[in-house]
Structures are given as C-alpha cells and as structure tokens.
C-alpha cells in the first residue's frame, strides 16, 4: 500500500522535520554572530561587519555545496583522512522520504557557523576582499577536511574518518565547528596585528568599547536559541534524548555565564556584561561535544570551568597583544578544546540513552578516551591553525589583508562601502 502509515514512515518524517527545524535554529546563530560582533565593535564599522556576516554565509553555503560537502561526506579515499563524493555531491538521493537533502541542509548551517566565528576576531581592520577569499576557502576546504576526520561517518560507513574510527567523540562540534573556527580566528588576529590604538607604548591594553551592548546581548540570546538546534539537533532524529541534551546545553550555558561574571567581577571589581555574555557562549561551546554523554551535574561543572577559562583567556590574549575585539578565540577556540577534553573526563555511560557506552576518566573509563580526545583536539588545532595561517599570511604577503591606516581610522563603513550603518544618528565619531 503506497499511502499506508507505518510507524517507521512516521519516524522518518519526524526525523526530517526535527532536523530541518534544528537546522533553521542553527541558521539563527548567523543573526546572533552578526549582532554580537557588531555590538562589541565600533559604530563606524557596523555596516562592514554586517556585510561580512552576510557574505560568509552566502559564499560559504555555495562553496560547501559545490566542494566542501564532497570532501567531508564523500567516501573515504585515504584511510579516513579525506573524502570525495564528486562536485556538488551527485549521489544525493532524490524522491519521497529522501534524507540526504535534509542532512546536507543541516550540515551546511554547521559549516556556516564555523566560517562566521572568524569575522569577530578580524573585525575593524580586515580588507573586505580578503574576507571573501577566506570565507570561500574555509567552507570549501578547511572545515570539510577536518570535519571528515570526525563526522564523515554521519553520511555512512564508507565515509568514516580516522578519528571516528579510533573512538573520538564530538557530538555537536566543539572541535569540528568551534575550535576550527576559533583556531582560524587566532591565525587571522595574529596575521592582522592589533587595531590602531589598542596597545599603548607601555604595553598595556587600551579599551575600545563596543558601540551597543544591547545589540551584543540580543546576539548572545539568539545564539543561545540557536544552540537548542545545534546540540539537540545533532541527533538528527526526533527521539527522546533531544530533551535531555537541551537541558545539559542550557545548564552549561547558565553555569558559564555565572562563573565568567564572578571571575571578571573578582578581577576587575565590576560585574562586566561583556564578560558575562562571553561566559554564556563559552558554556555553550564547551558543552557542545559532551552534551549527549554527560550527566546534568557534569554539564554544570563543564560550564563553570568554561566561564573561568574564557575570562582568563581574554586577559591573556591582551597580554600577548593579540587583538580579538569580540573574544572569538577565547570563546570558540579555548572552550572548543575544553569541551572536547571534557568528554574524556566526564563521559558517563549512565548518562546515555542512545546506545552510547563511552566512559571518561572520572567514570572508570581510564585514560584512553582522554588521550583520544586530546589527539583529536590537537590534530584539528594543527590543521586549522596551520591552514588559517597559510591563508592569512599569504594575503598579508600580497598586501591585501589589512585596510590602510586612514581607512581604519575613518571607519570601514564609509571608506570601503561608502555607507554609514547609522546615517542619521549622532555618535561620537572619533572612536
């Protein structure tokens, strides 16, 4: 019977619907990133940052469809190091109930998340053309290659990557998405150098306040909403476990918010909104890898540590004169690594309801999982930071990486785009 309703058919369609909704939630994170990055930087560069967030999504989605998806989810060619499925993945199945397109849509949103992380770290000084070149390269090559190592198998046994094969666990992408984006962001910030006026002659950092903490806060809330697609959606199935993962995700985010607030308060003497916001994101990034294999209490602990890490990392980067205007490296790179390591510490067989049996150091699993997680974090770091450095330092050699000093001082909006983000607003125009 062609139209017979079977429980299997209902489940299949439920999986499609949930995964698609989750993908749309992940797309919401684009708006979140755009607002966080714009709010945390100066008004004179707001249109430029919006433009970059728009373009990395548009260019990145196309690049991932044409080339990236094939490298990430094509059949493995070199022992799990590289996939190849042909340009535009010609093998995508068509017809009623076809899962492939939903899967590709969902994965495209993840790729775009990695790509857009970088724009915050390179904000207010990168040349627009260079940013476009970078956007295409990360989505077409850098993200898909390391993604294949860890997630290739999501598309089938034939495309399992080498890290998956040895038992590496990154449920929703602390490493695959966030630390890849974070490492490239670090490479970008280092290649560009600090914004004019960021560091004084005596080596101390000058504050360059963001122009709208209202936009920045709204952005963090949007990212947080998006994460409820990012993590629970990564089951790509409408099953009972999605609710528990939504809870671990939220607990970690809240714990990260509070511990970042307290850490910053203790060090600086004031409850700093921007640090608390970074803390929310730090907790979210950190719980992304372990969200399905840890207990709720462990999720809180992971978030608490993430919030401390993010604040200390922001201060440390300033001490090293690496200028990251929005804290992208501290949020995504540092806590992406932490979340990945946390799997090796806190993975608890009792927490899993999806046939998962891995156990971390604190749950009788010994050192093995911790070692595998560390190997995954390290190899991804080498790949992403190496490729990011290659791209950004090449652009620097070509002399097209950074805008001229005069453009930077006047603001990228008027000089690069000929448009003010706030044409009829008054703001203090020298900052």
């Amino acid at each position: 019977m062609e139209n017979e309703i079977t429980s299997a058919a209902v489940q299949t369609n439920l999986n499609v619907v949930w995964t698609l909704i989750a993908g749309i939630l992940v797309f919401t994170m684009q708006a979140g990133f755009a607002l966080v990055e714009t709010g945390f930087t100066r008004a004179k560069n707001a249109a430029n940052i919006m433009m970059k967030n728009l373009m990395d999504f548009a260019a990145g989605s196309l690049a991932f469809y044409v080339l990236g998806a094939a490298l990430m989810f094509g059949a493995t060619k070199a022992d799990g190091w590289l996939g190849w499925g042909g340009l535009g993945m010609p093998s995508l199945a068509n017809g009623e109930g076809a899962w492939d397109w939903t899967f590709l849509f969902f994965q495209t949103m993840f790729c775009a998340t990695a790509a857009t992380i970088v724009s915050g770290a390179v904000a207010e000084r990168i040349e627009f053309k260079s940013y476009l070149i970078y956007s295409v390269l990360i989505s077409a090559v850098v993200y898909p290659v390391s993604g294949h190592w860890m997630w290739g198998g999501l598309a089938g046994e034939a495309s399992r990557g080498w890290l998956e094969r040895i038992g590496f666990h990154d449920f929703a992408g602390s490493t695959v998405v966030h630390s890849v984006g974070g490492w490239i962001a670090l490479a970008g910030a280092m290649a560009l150098g600090p914004r004019i006026g960021k560091y004084r002659h005596d080596g101390k950092a000058n504050p360059i306040p963001g122009h709208s903490l209202v936009l920045g806060t709204l952005g963090v809330f949007l990212l947080w909403i998006g994460w409820f697609g990012f993590n629970p959606g990564s089951y790509t199935a409408g099953i009972g476990s999605i609710g528990r993962v939504a809870m671990t995700t939220n607990l970690s985010a809240c714990a990260g918010t509070i511990s970042a607030l307290v850490t910053a308060w203790a060090i600086m003497g004031k409850p700093d909104l921007t640090m608390a916001l970074n803390g929310s994101l730090a907790g979210l990034v950190a719980i992304t890898a372990p969200c399905d294999v840890v207990t709720a209490n462990a999720a809180i602990l992971i978030g608490l540590v993430a919030g401390i890490f993010v604040v200390l990392s922001v201060f440390s980067l300033d001490r090293l004169h690496i200028d990251d205007p929005v804290g992208a490296v501290s949020v995504h790179c540092v806590n992406g690594v932490w979340g990945t390591i946390a799997v090796g510490l806190f993975a608890a067989p009792v927490a899993s309801s999806y046939g998962n049996t891995i156990a971390g150091l604190f749950y009788g699993g010994g050192w093995k999982l911790l070692g595998i997680q560390s190997l995954g974090a390290l190899s991804t770091a080498l790949w992403a930071f190496g490729m990011g450095s290659a791209v950004f330092f090449t652009l620097k050699k070509l002399g097209i990486l950074r805008v001229p000093a005069k453009t930077e001082l006047k603001g990228l909006d008027m000089v690069e785009h000929g448009q003010d983000a706030y044409a009829s607003f008054q703001f203090f125009s020298n900052t």
């Binding site: 006026g197 005069k406 001082l409 006047k410 000929g418 008054q426 703001f427 125009s429 020298n430």
Partner: protein
C-alpha cells in the same frame, strides 16, 4: 585669556589629545560637528543615487587658555591634526572676556587654572 576653537578630522582626535597632554593642557571640551571648508564637501552615492554636497564629519575642540598657553595649545593641535592633506581643519583664536568656575566662584585666569 583666549578661547581656542579648532575643527579637526575625527580620526586625529586621539593624536591631538596626546599632544595636548604632553604639554600639560588637560582642560578641553569636544563635540561632534559637520562641515566643510575648502574641499567643498563630497559627493555621496547611496543605492545609485548621488547627493552633491555632503558635509564631512569633524570634531570641534574648545579650549580656554591663559596667554602663556596660547602658542603651546596651537602647536599641540597642529602637531596632532596635521596630515598635509586637504581637510586637516582650522584653528580660531577668540578673545575671551571672562571665565567663572561654577563650583568656587573664582574668576579670570584663576578660573582657567
């Protein structure tokens, strides 16, 4: 006593502040301004439409000084604001009849301090 008013490029403000600071001139007020001098404004294009005279964003500095600080202040503004390009701005030096510090009621050079 003089009132020194200067219009400068917004992006030069930090350099001017620095140059004033090293000459121990700390009392300064700054506001946003729009205007054009010899450049005659600029042509602005937005979504394909052009506007012919658009005023430039400038910063307006007002600094009240005693006579022995006039030249130092002018030097500092020039040092910080001059790039050699058209649009660097102008300095106006105006006579000033009186100055009163509201908190104490002091008058004249004392009030400028």
């Amino acid at each position: 006593m003089k009132l020194i008013i200067a219009y400068i490029q917004p992006e030069r403000l930090n350099a001017v502040k620095q140059a004033l600071f090293v000459r121990e001139i700390y009392k300064i007020s700054v506001t946003n301004a729009l205007g054009c001098g010899r450049q005659g404004g600029y042509i602005h294009m937005y979504r394909g439409a052009t506007e012919e005279v658009t005023l430039h964003k400038k910063m307006r500095l007002a600094i009240a000084v005693n006579d022995d600080y006039i030249e130092k202040t002018i030097d500092a503004i020039i040092e910080g604001a001059r790039t050699g390009d058209i649009g660097d701005g102008k300095i106006f030096v105006l006579p000033m009849d009186e100055c009163v510090r509201i908190r104490t009621g002091e008058r004249g050079p004392e009030a400028i301090g």
